[in-house]
């Protein structure tokens, strides 16, 4: 009676959804008089056929892994954290204050402290909505959205009035010290005369994202806390019966979620811009929702979904570079991917379930 083999659920459904999204995207591209095959070529060539392209893809993917995991952890406790944007920006603020005001002898030390700072700031930003949900029953979706706007406003204020170097015209902090510059992929992987990942923004934070994937997997499926988190997410009444404190789990889940979203700023703020700029989260907080949805809240799924979205962003940039396809169309393609992999998931799943049921019946 079990519906489908797990591999079909994990691989077949997203792949078919993706192909459908690609098909419709092709029609849209045809409609505006461009060649979809040519377009796909540009995307693949620009994103995947050079190490520099991969360096871009992995940079974006790093952001999405963090925000995707953030959404997933909350989601296991049946909490919908839409506040990734705000939490990521606060993470950036934490990093900026640390890097600007505390001198570090070496980037490694700075990186370790920055992880803590980004996590703490992100978690703190998630803490207030969490407490409001746990103790006052204010819906987490509403409060986290509100906190995104508060975060924008706060960052605006901090960058314009506090962190902006005197005389600078731009709402951005000063540059971080050179000696805490995080190694980029180019610096790490080029050897001899061969330069790999030329001027790509991917940096050492990517490895932290991979470690976070493993850590979250262990946390959710191998620890008592993860057990309680999942139990609470599946049934609050059963959780109470078992002596799991709903308020405690709500708050802990949101703290972890906020910390993960905050750590995204390691990649953008410390790894790439090396100063704090306005809107450093680049919308990744929202894309994280799609990534978690597509990755079925599982770290492995999130990893690959993040790669896909990284590819779409990078491929899309290439596309607007070489063709007359407007950048807006990239958003359309991304939206179609989200639509098919997330919202219309059942449209693909149901026929597949039936197909598999038929296959079994014949045996």
């Amino acid at each position: 009676m079990d519906k489908m083999p797990p591999w079909a659920d994990a691989v077949l459904v997203p792949v078919i959804s993706l192909l459908l999204a690609a098909a419709i995207s092709s029609i849209v591209i045809l409609a505006i008089g461009e060649n979809p095959i040519e377009a796909l070529n540009y995307m693949i060539e620009g994103a995947l056929l050079s190490s520099a392209g991969w360096g871009q893809v992995l940079y974006y993917a790093t952001n999405y892994i963090f925000t995707g995991l953030a959404v997933a952890v909350a989601s296991h406790a049946r909490l919908f954290n839409i506040g990734g944007e705000g939490q990521a920006q606060l993470g950036g603020l934490g990093i900026a204050m640390l890097c600007l005001f505390i001198p570090f002898p070496h980037w490694t030390l700075a990186f370790v402290f920055a992880i803590v700072a980004a996590g703490l700031f992100g978690a703190a930003w998630a803490y207030i909505p969490a407490v409001l949900q746990a103790k006052r029953d204010s819906h987490i979706v509403i409060t986290t959205i509100m906190f995104n706007y508060i975060a924008y406003a706060l960052l605006n204020y901090m960058l314009v009035n506090v962190l902006r170097p005197e005389g600078a015209m731009e709402p951005a902090s000063g540059n971080f010290p050179d000696n805490i510059h995080l190694p980029t992929f180019q610096e790490m992987f080029s050897y001899g005369d061969t330069i790999l990942f030329r001027s790509a923004p991917a940096n050492v934070s990517f490895f932290l994202a991979v470690i976070a994937c493993i850590g979250i997997w262990v946390l959710v499926w191998r620890t008592r806390l993860g057990y309680e988190l999942r139990a609470f997410g599946q049934s609050e009444s059963a959780a109470k019966y078992a002596g799991i404190n709903p308020a405690r789990i709500t708050i802990i889940a949101m703290l972890i979620s906020g910390a993960l979203a905050g750590m995204m700023a390691l990649n953008t703020t410390m790894g790439y811009s090396e100063r704090l700029v306005l809107n450093a989260s680049e919308g990744a907080g929202f894309i994280g929702i799609a990534v978690a949805l597509m990755g079925r809240n599982h770290p492995v799924g999130i990893f690959f979904a993040a790669l896909l979205f990284g590819f779409l962003v990078q491929g899309g940039t290439e596309l607007s570079f070489w063709t007359s396809i407007p950048t807006e169309l990239i958003v359309v393609i991304q939206a179609l991917v989200i639509l098919f992999t997330g919202a219309l998931d059942n449209m693909v799943r149901m026929p597949l379930v039936k197909l598999f049921a038929l296959g079994k019946g014949d045996r």
């Binding site: 009676m1 079990d2 262990v218 191998r222 620890t223 008592r224 057990y227 309680e228 999942r230 139990a231 599946q234 049934s235 009444s237 059963a238 109470k240 019966y241 078992a242 002596g243 799991i244 404190n245 049921a357 079994k360 019946g361 045996r363």
Partner: protein
Amino acid sequence: MDSHISTPPALELIGISKSFGPVQANKDISIRVMPGTIHGIIGENGAGKSTLMSILFGFYKADKGDIKINGRHTLIPDSQAAIAAGIGMVFQHFKLVHNFTVLENIILGAEGGMMLSQSLSAARKSLKKLADDYELNVDPDAKIEDLSVGHQQRVEILKALYRKADILILDEPTGVLTPAEADHLFRILDNLRREGKSIILITHKLREIMEATDSCSVMRRGEMVETVKTADSSPAELAELMVGRKVLLEVDKVPAQPGAPILEIENLRHVDEQGVERLKGIDLTIRAGEVLGIAGVAGNGQTQLLEVLGGYAHATGTIRVNGTELDLTGKLSDGQSRRANGIAHVPEDRHHEGLILPFTAWENTAFGYHHDDRYQKGILMSNKAIKQDAQEKIERFDVRPPNPNLAARNFSGGNQQKIVVAREIERNPEVLLIGQPTRGVDIGAIEFIHKQIIELRDKGKAVLLVSVELDEIFALSDRIAVMFDGHITGERLATETNAQELGLLMAGETNTQEAAHG
């Protein structure tokens, strides 16, 4: 059967087969139901009763077989077709909109016409007639959420009748009803039968089959074992047909030898979230080696008593376990602390409390005890230890299928309950709280679970049993306390009372001596 040839059966199923993948849920099933009769379908959970009815109501398509209604071949591709063919279904879990009134629920999906007011007034009229004809009284303007379960069920029946159903299917209708409500239901069914309606009653309770039906089909493992005239059969025969072997309907037990008090409850009071006082000063003592049964109509505070004892509702008063006073409001009043105090709890509602349905069986065997040292390996949980433990419990309690990796929701009701009971009893608790231990559980499993409860009692532990089934209370309890409106209205030794006396206590009558004799 030959005598019926002149009138065709109201409903005839011929050779119905249905399989889900490798599982054959229905195998070549044939049933005939004559007009103006109540036909029982009895079988253990998972015997295929619900699948059969889902086919009849158009939820599933049969792989093979025919359906004839009033002698005519009828195709039922969906539930609309079933309704059009005069089939009405009352599900075990009602399909009502809780914030709608009775009337609004009844016309839902059968509005007819643009404006609601028209169909509402038409419905009001026919509702009045149905109520008068069949004792189906419900206030048409009451909201569903304000109605008792018994009344909600009447709304479901009214819904079917309003849609002109001639064949009414009821799936485990008494599972949620009090004895009095169940009696009322059977009176309604009797009225319907006299009007010439055909009724299919799906149940696993032998008593209901014996009391209410004219004929009865027994299902086992997807097959129709036998169809009998109820009057020519006996509970023992039906039970044997259902399970496929002889079943002990009585619990085999020696008289209790109560020792020192283990659980002492004094002046326990609890006010719920709506501000209603649900427990109004409960005093109870359970001694070692004793089963105390709490009888009472559902909703008189039994649930709250279990919640307070189980550690998820606050209260005032005193609870002592082996002389140690329990925290009733503070940090140590949660389920974890209760378990540490030696209280194990099989909750009334295994779907919403006792189990996490999407979790596997092995994950569920640690539920509530997931802080136990034996399940830990450093900072991680030892899945290996839990799985091993689960495997042992599954074997000892004969859980089927014996697969710890299956999600809890894929087990039948009886096997789910075995998983919960195994988890709670196997820790050898000082006090076992057990609510509705056999609700929705098949006969074979009931026998087994009852035996486990008595075994625990004989080990010198205290058992607090809450059940709305008087038969079960009598079968297991050494002493019986009756709850009414948050009070204990009386305590009797099981050997020195009877259903009549308990019935009076359950209605709030405390002076039973005179009432019983008068």
